[in-house]
């Protein structure tokens, strides 16, 4: 059963009267939003749409959860601003609420921080059917429990997100992209570590398992050539760099943010990652016949895992490195993979937000 909510009060009513609830936004991450079994009541929030408040001088924006990210991006672009973390799957219809609930950040998170760093306020319908607010609409705020951060990655299991307030940033006026061939994955990881620790202020850095890196500089046009002129000779020995023309660069970054490289017959899994975990994770993915990209300088692994392969080897590799992952596409996959943290704290917080178990486990 699906309820298309046009108003918050309808969601409140539904929460008070039903169980097995699962929110759905644009449906771009179906493993999180499609019903995993019978008896699930889908709360479709895609009708809760539109920007509630946007004052460019404040560098903040508040919008309803079902607002497509693409719509936000267009409104921000008119004022020379943007969400610097390049929310993934925007062209597949990702909504603001879905980006928060799935904690998905794209390439630009390297320099500016991810979705958890930009969410400053939320309104949710909790498991008691109350409409509650946390955080606020100002960029700095330490009052009360940080409900906005809790909602990041909550996957619709703690409440229905109905409104989100965000920080936004000025959009850089220029960008330049280098494709760097490091000569193998280990060399690429070493290069990424070196580049991230240096004075280069890369805006984005993505690793391909074949040892190529895609690096973006962003900022004002005036110093751009000088920045590049210093960066290229400083690349690790043995690495070669090619500067991409604007059109090709745009296409490559779009492919990264859309996760469009993902082969057919695979499901997309987002995994927490660290530089040290890249090689072993890739070994597990390659052995299963999958593919992967390592984003945000190696802080996140985007894994295309074959549909017909069991997830156990991936789960084991993640556990070994203390990392967790979450499937985004393919068959409904309500459970997290790998080393899931939170223990008793998680159980108690969940019991407070959803005392009558209205939402899916």
């Amino acid at each position: 059963m699906t309820l298309a909510a046009g108003h918050v009060d309808e969601i409140r009513e539904l929460v008070r009267s039903s169980t097995g609830l699962l929110p759905r936004g644009g449906g771009s991450k179906p493993a999180l939003s499609a019903p995993p079994h019978d008896g699930v009541v889908t709360v479709d929030v895609s009708g809760l749409r539109g920007i509630v408040a946007y004052d460019p001088a404040e560098l903040t924006l508040t919008a309803r959860a079902g607002t497509p990210v693409a719509e936000l991006d267009a409104a921000l672009a008119e004022h020379g601003q943007h969400l610097p973390f390049d929310p993934p799957l925007a062209r597949a219809g990702a909504t603001l609420g879905g980006v928060v609930a799935a904690a998905t950040s794209g390439p630009g998170a390297l320099r500016s921080g991810g979705v958890r760093d930009f969410v400053i306020g939320v309104r949710i319908v909790d498991g008691t059917g109350r409409l509650v607010s946390g955080g606020g609409r100002v960029v700095k705020n330490a009052a009360g429990f940080d409900l906005p951060k809790l909602m990041v990655g909550s996957r619709g299991r703690l409440g229905v997100i109905v409104e989100v307030s965000l920080k936004v940033f000025p959009r850089p006026r220029a960008a330049a992209t280098l494709e760097i061939a490091a000569g193998g994955l280990d060399a690429a990881v070493a290069a990424a570590t070196e580049l991230s620790a240096g004075p280069w202020e890369l805006d984005a850095l993505e690793l391909h398992p074949d040892g190529r890196l895609l690096a973006r500089l962003a900022g004002d046009p005036e110093p751009m050539e000088a920045r590049l002129a210093r960066l290229v000779p400083a690349l690790p020995a043995g690495a070669t760099a090619r500067r991409l023309a604007a059109g090709e660069a745009d296409a490559r970054w779009r492919e990264a943010a859309d996760l469009a490289w993902r082969p057919g017959g695979t499901r997309l899994v987002r995994a927490a990652c660290t530089p040290a975990a890249i090689a072993p994770l890739w070994a597990a993915v390659a052995a299963a016949g999958g593919d992967a990209r390592f984003g945000r300088g190696g802080a996140v692994a985007w894994i295309a895992w074959p549909d017909d392969a069991p997830l156990d080897p991936l789960d084991a590799a993640l556990r070994e490195h203390g990392l967790a992952a979450c499937a985004l596409t393919g068959a409904p996959a309500p459970d997290l993979l790998g080393a899931v943290r939170g223990g008793a704290f998680a159980q108690r917080v969940r019991a407070a937000l959803d005392p009558d178990r209205r939402f899916l486990d």
Binding site: A57, E58, G80, A103, A109, G114, R116, R130, V132, S133, G136, V138, V139, K140, N141, A142, A143, G144, F145, D146, K149, L150, V152, G153, S154, R155, F169, P170, S196, A197, P199, W200, E201, D220, P223, R227, R230, R270, A272, C273, T274, P275, A299, V300, G322, L323, A324, L336, G338, A339, R341, G342, G343, A344, F345, A346, R348, V349, A352, L353
Partner: protein
């Protein structure tokens, strides 16, 4: 009833017996003279003598102390260096104070993953000092950075002058090991910048000790900037300085810090730490840019033009670390420096939307005039975070009450303008009555439910953040 539940005399005797059995020796303080030292934090208007102080050496001792308190229904408060300006580490009469300063080891620095794992009693600045050999630093920089501890920073999600660009403590904490109020130990987060599943780490940060005590904290480190450019601009009015901030933000420049001090704050800084600010200024604006040298050079040129057009009477710039330190010394010492102007002061920490700063400052001036009190203003202008310093003489009958009333009026003003009652100091004891003015009854109800789910006996830092009375604390 409350007294019976958590502070009954036999509970106190039993908890003391259990604590003695831990073999803490001289690290268990129970003598009145020893306890007096710990009876307040930086919000000195509040004092309460605890039942006992545990100077913990190990995480195991912290856990054992929490378990003993839980077993006997005795409330406890964790304390680092006691720099809280909101009374966040104020002890409880009849409760146990757990001092964490001796848990001051940096357990690990991983330069490759750019993170550090530290104990809660590590002093903020020590993390950056230890990371410096790898060209890295810990970004959050509260003004008390040379004494305040990471555990306190986590509990109150501390900010600092540079959070305009870098964010607050919660943006730099990747994971932690915590002891919950019943003594259960739980791991939150991990080593990755990308959380998977609900952000339990983010929720624990800023929970003001109500969810328990952090035993180990994993923080991210960032490269020390290659170039730093600091500009000090002098204005003949506070409004002109405020307008300059609006111009800078509108230009698309993203400085790491944008700070304003008014005439009274400048006077106080000059009277104490003598930073050598230009004389006769009605307002000072400090702007800091950092990054790669090419970017900073280009941004500095844009900034110079913006400041020139903003009507600054005088602009001084520097790239020299010594000169920069002097500029910041005056700013970071401003709170204690107002002690030169009046016997007592209250610091406020309200936030307003940055476009309404001018309106807020004019209204604060009017309210102060009506109350017959002087207010010095020091603030993080870039993010709308005000720090009005209300000067008074506590020996004068009724002066403290008038100062507190003015502080309350200022907080209500911040709420009315769409802001917050605290940007970085936390609610603590000081502002707990104002939290329900900012949040609605349902929001407050959820906060109460969260606390009761995590700590049904309400032992951890009770009396902080949530209002007292009506069954709250």
């Amino acid at each position: 009833m409350e007294e019976e539940r958590v502070g009954a005399p036999e509970g106190r005797d039993r908890v003391l017996a259990d604590l003695r059995a831990l073999g803490l020796g001289e690290r268990l303080l129970t003598a009145p003279a020893e306890l007096a030292v710990f009876s307040s934090d930086a919000l000195t208007a509040f004092r309460q003598r605890p039942l006992a102080v545990v100077l913990a050496d190990t995480a195991e001792e912290v856990v054992a102390t929490v378990r003993a308190c839980h077993r006997h229904g005795v409330p406890f408060v964790a304390r680092g260096s006691g720099t809280s300006l909101s009374g966040g580490s104020l002890p409880l009469e009849g409760g146990v104070l757990i001092a964490l300063n001796r848990l001051n080891r940096i357990l690990r620095i991983d330069p490759r993953a750019r993170l550090a794992v530290v104990q809660p009693g590590v002093v903020n600045l020590e993390v950056s000092r230890a990371a410096a050999r790898y060209g890295l630093q810990y970004a959050p920089d509260p003004s008390s950075e040379s004494v305040c501890t990471i555990g306190g920073n986590v509990a109150f999600n501390s900010g600092g002058a540079h959070c305009l660009r870098h964010g607050m403590t919660a943006n730099h904490v990747l994971g932690m090991r915590v002891v919950l109020p019943d003594g259960e130990v739980v791991d939150l987060g991990g080593e990755s910048l990308e959380p998977v599943g609900p952000d339990w780490t983010g929720l624990f940060c800023g929970s003001e000790g109500l969810f328990g005590i952090a035993l180990e904290v994993t923080v991210r480190l960032v490269p020390v900037p290659e170039a730093v450019h600091t500009a000090l601009a002098v204005y003949d009015s506070l409004e002109a300085a405020g307008d300059a901030v609006s111009r800078i933000v509108a230009s698309g420049l993203l400085p790491v810090a944008l700070e304003i001090m008014d005439a009274l704050a400048i006077e106080a800084a000059e009277a104490s730490v003598k930073p050598g600010y230009p004389p006769g200024a009605a307002a000072l604006l400090i702007v800091e840019l950092e990054g790669g040298r090419e970017t900073v050079a280009a941004d500095a040129a844009r900034l110079a033009a913006l400041l020139r057009d903003s009507g600054a009477a005088h602009v001084r710039t520097t790239e020299d670390p010594g000169e920069r330190a002097l500029i910041w010394k005056g700013r970071k010492a401003a709170f204690s420096a107002v002690g030169w102007l009046a016997p007592d002061y209250l610091v406020q920490d309200g936030v307003v939307p940055r476009t309404r700063l001018g309106e807020a400052l004019a209204e604060i001036e009017r309210l102060a005039g009506a109350a017959g009190l002087r207010v010095a203003n020091v603030f993080h202008a870039g993010d709308g975070n005000l720090h009005p310093l209300i000067l008074f003489d506590g020996r004068e009958p009724g002066a403290l009450e008038r100062a507190e009333a003015l502080a309350g009026d200022i907080l209500r003003l911040c709420i009315r303008l769409g802001g917050s009652i605290t940007g970085e100091h936390g609610v603590g004891v000081e502002k707990r009555a104002h939290l329900p003015e900012m949040f609605g009854p349902d929001d407050m109800e959820l906060m109460g439910r969260l606390r009761d789910a995590v700590d049904p006996a309400r032992l951890a830092n009770r009396g902080k953040m949530l209002p007292v009375g009506d069954g709250w604390s």
